[in-house]
Amino acid sequence: MSWANSWVNLYGSQLEGELGAAFDRTWPRKPVVEAASVARQSIAIRLESVTKAFGTRPVLRDLSLTIDSGQFVAVVGRSGCGKTTLLRMIAGLEPVSAGRLSIGDAAVSSLRQEVRLLFQEPRLLPWHRVISNVGIARGENWRDHARSALRDVGLADRAEDWPATLSGGQRQRVALARALVSRPKALLMDEPFGALDALTRTEMHQLLIRVREEYGFTALLITHDVREAIALADRVLVLRDGTVSRDIPIDVPLHLRPSSPALNHLEKDILAEV
């Protein structure tokens, strides 16, 4: 599939495939400003001179960065540049070696429930049915919440199936529903679409754009796919040698991005740098 074609598929109105039905109500897409049934909520992420080292090997060096509340930031970089470490630190899975990392007003010291993480692999529990995977944290009325999250990712009819019976893309959608079910203020994504085929990945991009409009969370996407970063994010960071080498805002509206020669040029530019 060529570059231009995939964009037509992504933003064209003749969308087909598994997600078609789920999108009918909201397609063609228009900016959703009014609040959904539940309040859209987001939170800012701030790094001040953050350094991270494993033993004596520095991975991130003196990194300062502010992700505004509700912003969608994509981090690109070659493997081993520290982008996954950055994400795991923000998630509270790795402590910072030096500097200050805060989410909202509080310094990150451990796992936080308003921050959700989408892993590279779906990481579903194979011994729980889809709905029990989505509602893994249980809590009050978890079945209703899980069902509604599954509806949001277009998998309401698979609630009672075993994860083993789903395709790779469907599993990642279940994982997305599991992240959404608690209405997170920030969603951290560690190359969640890397293992999917091109068509499924495009569908997942649309799904992500749609749920973000509905939920309004701050999003941080780690990816090695520059095109994916440009297609989805408000801002692209290039991570190189443990520090941000470029910080590029992308102001082109989402639906105009496929035909934008400037972005096409930018992609080549970033690829050359990474």
């Binding site: 892993f119 729980h128 083993a164 019976t165 790779g168």
Partner: protein, 264 residues
């Protein structure tokens, strides 16, 4: 006739032919009744001992010993496996000792067990317990260690406390391995019991066969052997059924209908 029925027929042809040949051989006199009584003689012995209640009596006593041993030894093995799988300190403390004990053939300690417990029930239950402890311990421990760390991390990220993490992620993940340990343990359970009952007992299948040997009742000896085989088979079928139920999520236990697994 369906393909399955045909398959069953083919599979059972050889055993049936053997039994028929054996019966004929015994009737004609090629095989001495003292060495190998005819299948019909064994059937008669079965019927007689069933009617006078001896068979049920001995089978129940043997089964009771087996289950007590399984409960005690298996329970201990399971608890040790869970603790050592969860706490590295506990593993360091006990695992090498357990591995050392595991290498002692448990039947070799029979003389010692008789010295300790005499020849009453506790000796047999102790032997069975020791026999089943290690397969259950090893497979529980191994199963817990082999749980995908990614799933454990996911559980932590999604807010599961230690208890929920254990019950919903770690134990279910270890369950296939634990059940393999259970099946293995059941085999050892019957084997140990046979040996223990043969050496010294006042009741049980082993006692029944040894008693029959004294009176040269080869048919009853044969019957005892068949009962042991049946008990072993029943135990195995029960665990298979348990596996199918408990591992319904596992792709290899799902029926073909509606569940074509798609590789991720």
């Amino acid at each position: 006739m369906g393909k399955r029925a045909a398959d069953t027929l083919i599979a059972s042809a050889l055993p049936i032919a053997l039994v028929v040949a054996w019966e004929i051989g015994a009737r004609v006199g090629w095989i001495s009744g003292r060495i190998l009584p005819a299948p019909s003689a064994v059937a008669v012995a079965f019927w007689t001992s069933l009617q006078n209640g001896e068979l049920v009596h001995h089978t129940l006593i043997s089964t009771e010993r087996a289950l007590y041993g399984l409960l005690i030894g298996g329970g201990l093995g399971f608890v040790l496996g869970v603790i050592n799988g969860a706490l590295p300190v506990a593993e360091k403390l006990t695992d090498s000792s357990l591995q050392m004990l595991r290498n002692v053939p448990h039947l070799a300690i029979i003389p010692l067990v008789i010295l300790w417990f005499g020849i009453d029930e506790s000796a047999k239950i102790f032997l069975v317990s020791i026999g089943v402890l290690f397969p259950i311990y090893l497979n529980t421990f191994h199963g817990i260690r082999m749980v995908d760390p990614g799933l454990v991390e996911m559980g932590r990220v999604y807010g599961l406390g230690p208890v929920a993490l254990y019950l919903r992620v770690i134990l279910p993940g270890a369950l296939p391995s634990i059940l393999v340990g259970l099946r293995y343990a059941l085999g050892i359970m019957w084997l140990t019991l046979i040996v223990a009952e043969t050496i010294s007992a006042q009741a049980g299948i082993g006692y029944m066969t040894m008693n029959a040997r004294e009176f040269l009742q080869t048919d009853v000896v044969l019957l005892g052997i068949i009962i042991y085989a049946l008990l072993g088979k029943i135990a195995d079928m029960l665990t298979r059924w348990l596996e199918r139920r408990a591992l319904a999520w596992h792709p290899s236990f799902q029926s073909a209908a509606k569940t074509v697994a798609v590789p991720a």
